[in-house]
Amino acid sequence: MNLFAAVGRVVRAMPLLTVGAWVGILLGGYIWPLVPGLVLQRYFDSLPGPGRLGTPWAWLAMYAGVGLGFLAIRVVAVPLEPVLGLDTAQLLRTNILAAVLRRPGAAALTHPPGETIGRMRADSEHFGMLPAWLVDPFAQAASLTFALAILARTNWLVTIEVVVPMVVALVAVNGARRWTISFRRSAMETTSAVSGFIAESYGAITAVKGAGAEGNLAEHFRELNDARRLAGVRDTLWTEGLTALSGGSVLLGTGAMLLLVGPQIRSGRFTVGDLALFTSYLALLSTVGSYFASLMMVTRQARVSLDRLGELVPREPRYGLVQPAALFLRGDRPRPTEIHRAPQDRLERLDLRKLTCLHPSGRGVESVSFSILRGDLVVVTGRVGSGKTTLLRGVLGLLQAGSGAVAWNGVDVPDLTAFMVPPRCSYVPQVPHLFGDTLRDNILLGVRATEEAVERAVKTAVLAAEVGHLDQHLETLVGRRGVRLSGGQVQRTAVARALIRDPELLVLDDVSSALDVETEAILWQRLMDEAERTCIAVSSRRPTLARASTVVVLKAGSVDFVGTLADALEHSEVMRSVWTDAPAAG
């Protein structure tokens, strides 16, 4: 991605705010500060002495007035800059989240969640600083030209002498960019390592507590922090060194000026007013010089950050990160969405044709074929690690299929990830995740549904009795990740969440894992009682297997057997071993 093309898009996405921020920077940072120096020159030249010009009091009054003008700029325009930064960062975060959610769900993140959050947090902020800075090169050029013109008109020889060290310093700062980038990058990397580790550790809190590993983790955290400190101090040394170089060059110029102007002051060709003007403008040039160094720094940091953010969403369109998105910064929350159902969405049959789906590690399922007709229940079973979950993910496009095809009513689906969603499919993962909202919000997840539909889904999911016992019923807050609910309740909430979408094909991954046999039996009873319910499920429990119209037995990533349960028991060794130890009753 070209950095400036990317920033350009941001600017076009929020033109008013950007222009406002620019005006604030231009006025407050560059134009206004030029005025006092000129007024001061006039003031000193109007003081009693040889060649006195006018009266000092008017100039003093004007000098005081300039300050009040500044108040207006500071209060109105200056806060726009951080707001622009904030909105830019938020634009990136929204686009990244949207892009992540477009990817196959089981492989949506290219980096661990902690690292991803770290980047979305800090790198977006760093990039967000850049749009406001776009005006600076122009403002710098304008104010430099203006200041130098005035200085040169006063005394061109002195002006040249002051400018030379400044140019040298700027060239040096620019030449050092390679190190600037690498120091910055390592500072950012060590920072996201720290925030990533915090998120991971607290995400695994029960395991950490259960093993009493708090101290070990803290020790590792300390090491990460130390690495971050070293990178941070090195970055500071570099940044401050460069700033001092550009600022110092101007101060050197001031000293050199004194060497030159001594005789001229004596002769009256260089007045004290001129001296005031030069000192004031040189301080200004020093500030502009440090702004220039900061601009370089901000640009490089933004480039590093943009790359790091781009890595989170590979294969996105080039400028996807910065495309305009509705930020909903004001107004009411958007309304719930409707699920649109087309006649061709009705499922008659689904065929897997030599479907292969592999993890990057090379594990997965290969060349799986079977068919499912409307009203069927297909149960996928097999040993641990045999690829059951991977198969479901492959069918649903939650992992990218390697080869083969899935055909919906006989037609190959070109993009499973986009197609296998409600109202065609919905899915209950093995470990469902809930959000820290109400139970109702967790079931709806933004879908519009009647009260009756919600109650029906809750009832079918065998959740109704427990919802009745909760103090706020469906409005109960479930805590982060649904911790206020038991494992089985989370699972059945996820079933209700899938059912409210009234899918043509319901896909369930091992709902037995947190349900007792009786609850599971009732669940299946209710699910399959609904007319023409079509279902693919992973299970190793007898009652579920017994209901299956087709059993798919997996062994080490490929199909061991496809057929009825009776045939599978006769022909498949794996099936027999699963069956033998499976719970018998129910």
């Binding site: 947090r121 607290y202 950490v208 990740r481």
Partner: protein, 595 residues
């Protein structure tokens, strides 16, 4: 024996969090040397800044008085030296200050990290990992500047202020008095507006943590979101949180802008006033032109510490909001008070477990366990069965002291768990939790949880013993293979094998397996049985069972129903009693609802 309500130890009772002052003192104390260095830099910088305008004054007066070129050159070189020295010191100052800031804030981060890991589960249930990132890293970051510069810069600014006022008084007492009055007015105004943006910053931090917290939830639930077509909903929920954060930030920024604007608006009239006084004195020939220039430079110099004081007040505000949240966090106590160090639980060997009339409720809810009483002698195993929601997991958590009972006592190895220091209890009691939690780290670190004292050899041996050596040979890296994000290429069953290995390595005297086999399919579980026997051999074990085969391995059975014990006893005896739940279950009369 029943210790119904253990009193909080006196030092924990009524303890409040550290204030910002104590935080600063506690974390800066180790950096006295560095701070002294910063102080020296400061003194040098202050002197240089005071001297430079004086040099210029003599330069002007010398030049206008017709001094020779040599004198003028010497004066100019003197000035040059002063400004170069000031630049060099500025760099040294920044580097030393950032070193101190990093060390001090890192220590605070480390302390917070460990402190929060040790807090109880209710705390973690209401604070998502994303929120913890903001609270441990984000909030401490706002203190960075406070630690690096605040104290020293504050002293420096006061010093510079006093220096300017002294020189002004020395130049002319009328100028001195004017300058003092001006300084007082500015300081009073700054004090008046100081509180404008305190609470907005607190709100800003809070909303920012909310936003990151939601992001974390969404990023760990991509599969759920996609498969339910809830992308738009997730994005909008995120944006809702962003919007709150934005409006809080804008409010806080407006306060900052107002304070900054006010100070600069005061300065230029103030400088004009000083020049006005100087003009009158000049007209009466009480001052030289060079001195008027000095007055201007000093008035300008005066604005720097005043402005910085204003900025520091703002930093102090955002740092204050951060410090309040940090202090709050440090003051959060686990509801499980730490026991004082006591006799050891005994080296090795199995530990008996007793529940003595235990009743427990989460928060103010209905009790999840009622009057649970049982005894599990050392070395025996107990299978716990019951329907979903009957309290099995709660029972396991109490045995591990992840919660304390509301009434009654849990006794491990003959001692109430509340009297056993947590570290000791954890070293002797292992839990294989219901939900396997994996870190983005190597296989080895996932098993040892970063305990570097455990050799690779021991890890391998443990995996071999569990007959899951292949876990240590996944991919090319072996034990050093880094598990992918969210353990995506690890099946649910394999993840649980790792969790088993974790517990096995601890060599505990009491093992609590909470539905450990729920996601290991029957065939694999069969292969694991030998290793399970090894894990349980010579240990006391509580197994929350899901399968009949598991029940065959345990010595005793406990049947839970809605938080009450409906049956407890030796398996053999219960099995022999035709009326027992267990016998009916084994006969197949009862549905396996109990498992």
């Amino acid at each position: 024996m029943i210790l119904s309500a253990i009193e909080l130890s006196p030092e924990l009772r009524g303890q409040r969090g550290p204030t910002m002052g104590t935080l600063v003192r506690r974390y800066l104390r180790p950096h006295i040397t560095g701070l002294t260095m910063l102080g020296a830099f400061l003194l040098a910088t202050t002197l240089l800044r005071l001297v430079a305008p004086l040099i210029i004054r003599s330069f002007i007066d010398l030049a206008r008085g017709g001094a020779d070129g040599g004198t003028l050159t010497r004066t100019a070189v003197l000035y040059l030296l002063a400004v170069v020295a000031a630049q060099v010191i500025a760099v040294a100052d920044a580097v030393v200050a950032s070193g101190i800031a990093w060390r001090a804030t890192n220590r605070l981060r480390n302390d917070l990290f460990l402190h929060c890991l040790r807090l109880d589960l209710p705390f973690h249930h209401s604070n998502s990992p994303g929120v913890m990132v903001e609270r441990i890293d984000g909030d401490v970051e706002t203190l960075q500047n406070l630690f690096s510069h605040f104290v020293v810069r504050l002293a420096g600014n006061v010093l510079l202020l006093l220096g300017v006022l002294t020189v002004m008084l020395a130049v002319d007492w009328r100028l001195g008095i004017y300058t003092i009055l001006f300084t007082v007015v500015v300081l009073l105004v700054l004090r008046a507006v100081r509180n404008i943006s305190v609470s907005p910053w607190g709100r800003q931090r809070e909303t920012s943590a909310e936003m990151v917290g939601y992001l974390e939830e969404a990023l760990t639930s991509t599969e759920d979101i996609r498969a339910n077509g809830a992308e738009i909903h997730a994005i909008r929920s995120f944006q809702g949180r962003s919007r709150e954060m934005r409006s809080a930030t804008v409010r806080a920024l407006l306060g900052v802008g107002l304070i900054a604007g006010l100070t600069t608006a005061m300065f230029q009239p103030g400088i004009a006033g000083a020049l006005g006084v100087a003009t009158i004195l000049l007209e009466h020939h009480q001052l030289t032109l060079g001195t008027v220039f000095l007055v201007f430079n000093y008035a300008l110099l005066l604005t720097q510490p005043l402005e910085e004081l204003g900025r520091q007040l703002q930093d102090l505000q955002s740092a204050g909001a951060g410090a309040t949240r940090v202090a709050e966090l440090l003051a959060t106590r686990s509801t499980l008070p730490e026991a004082p160090a006591a006799d050891r639980l005994g080296e090795g060997g199995p530990l008996a477990l007793v529940f003595d009339r235990v009743t427990f409720a989460y928060g103010d809810g209905e009790p999840a366990l009622r009057h649970i009483t049982f005894e599990l002698p050392a070395g025996e195993s107990l299978g716990v069965i019951g329907r979903t929601g009957s309290g099995k997991t709660t029972l396991a958590r109490l045995a591990l002291r992840l919660y304390d009972p509301s009434v009654g006592a849990v006794v491990v190895g003959g001692r109430d768990v509340r009297t056993i220091p947590t570290a000791e209890l954890r070293a002797r009691v292992a839990l294989v939790p219901q939900e396997v939690q994996l870190l983005h780290a190597t296989v080895r670190n996932n098993i040892t949880l970063f305990d570097h004292s455990i050799t690779d050899e021991r890890v391998r041996q443990a995996l071999e013993d569990l007959n899951i050596g292949r876990v240590g040979n996944r991919g090319e890296g072996g034990l050093n293979e880094v598990l992918a994000a969210g353990g995506v290429d690890l099946s649910g069953g394999e993840a649980q094998l790792l969790a088993l290995a974790r517990a096995f390595l601890l060599n505990p005297g009491l093992v609590v397996l909470d539905e450990a086999s729920s996601r290991v399919d029957p065939a694999t579980e069969q292969a694991l049985e030998g290793a399970m026997d090894r894990l349980l051999a010579g240990r006391t074990a509580v197994v929350i069972a899901h399968r009949l085969s598991t029940l065959q391995r345990v010595d005793r059975i406990l049947v839970l129903e809605e938080g009450r014990v409906v049956e407890v006893g030796r398996r053999a005896e219960l099995a022999a009693d035709p009326g027992s739940h267990l016998a009916r279950l084994l006969r197949g009369d009862l549905s396996e609802a109990l498992l």
